[in-house]
């Protein structure tokens, strides 16, 4: 086993585990009952999967060609920072849009909190 094969094995392990995570998250996309659980499935595992794939690409170009690609590293950092923010925004706007929770969920903490805030604002207005 020469050096090239070892590097290719490392890259393959990273890329295939990332791909597996992405595919499993998209199966969660079909199976889960409402928007909030779906956003949980999509955000966490897609972020981790894409991170693994991009790290595999980074290691491929670094170890095989000796090039540290700053653009790729920047892409990794950007995806890592923005994907959770985007998922949080989707869940927030879904709640304010009035998306229903699934029937199996038993508690809605945010609703109580919003009602409490509304009551306080009304009391302050009077």
């Amino acid at each position: 086993m020469n050096t090239k094969e070892i590097i290719e094995t490392v890259v393959l392990v990273l890329v295939l585990s990332g791909t597996l995570m992405s595919v499993l998250s998209s199966f969660g996309f079909i199976r889960l009952p409402d928007v909030y659980t779906r956003s949980h499935a999509a955000a966490k595992s897609t972020t981790l999967g894409i991170l693994f794939i991009l790290l595999g690409t980074f290691f491929y170009f670094w170890l095989l060609h000796g090039v540290i690609s700053v653009r790729l590293l920047l892409g990794v950092i950007f995806v890592f920072l923005t994907a959770p923010v985007a998922s949080h925004l989707i869940a927030r706007s879904a709640y304010h849009h009035g998306a229903k929770l699934s029937d199996s969920s038993i508690k809605d903490d945010l609703k109580e909190e919003l009602e409490r805030q509304r009551r306080e604002e009304l009391a302050r207005g009077q």
């Binding site: 890329v15 990332g18 992405s22 998209s26 779906r38 794939i53 991009l54 595999g56 690409t57």
Partner: protein, 94 residues
């Protein structure tokens, strides 16, 4: 072997795009569709990364950054539209 396994990985990512397409067509509410579009763009990022390994070139690496930025901005714009009804607000004093 290396090339075949990378091809299989690209196929699996395409499968996840197809599944997200199903969610876009069927999805009961608008946030579902936004979520599916977001995850489609991340799958495209993965496919471009694997393509640049397979063709052994670094020419496509800007595309990853560009698609990432476009996905984030479009998600933010759609969420803002969903929450307030407008994307660009004229009243700025609240």
């Amino acid at each position: 072997m290396f090339d075949l396994l990378l091809l299989i990985a690209m196929g699996l990512l395409s499968l996840s795009i197809v599944i997200a397409m199903y969610r876009i067509i069927k999805g009961p509410s608008l946030p579902d569709r936004i979520l599916a579009l977001d995850s489609i763009s991340y799958s495209i990022i993965g496919i471009v990364a694997i393509l640049s390994i397979r063709t052994d070139t670094r020419a496509y690496l800007e595309t990853i950054l560009l698609i990432g930025i476009l996905a984030f901005l479009s998600t933010i714009a759609l969420c803002k539209f969903l929450e307030r009804g407008v994307v660009i607000e004229h009243k700025r004093d609240h």
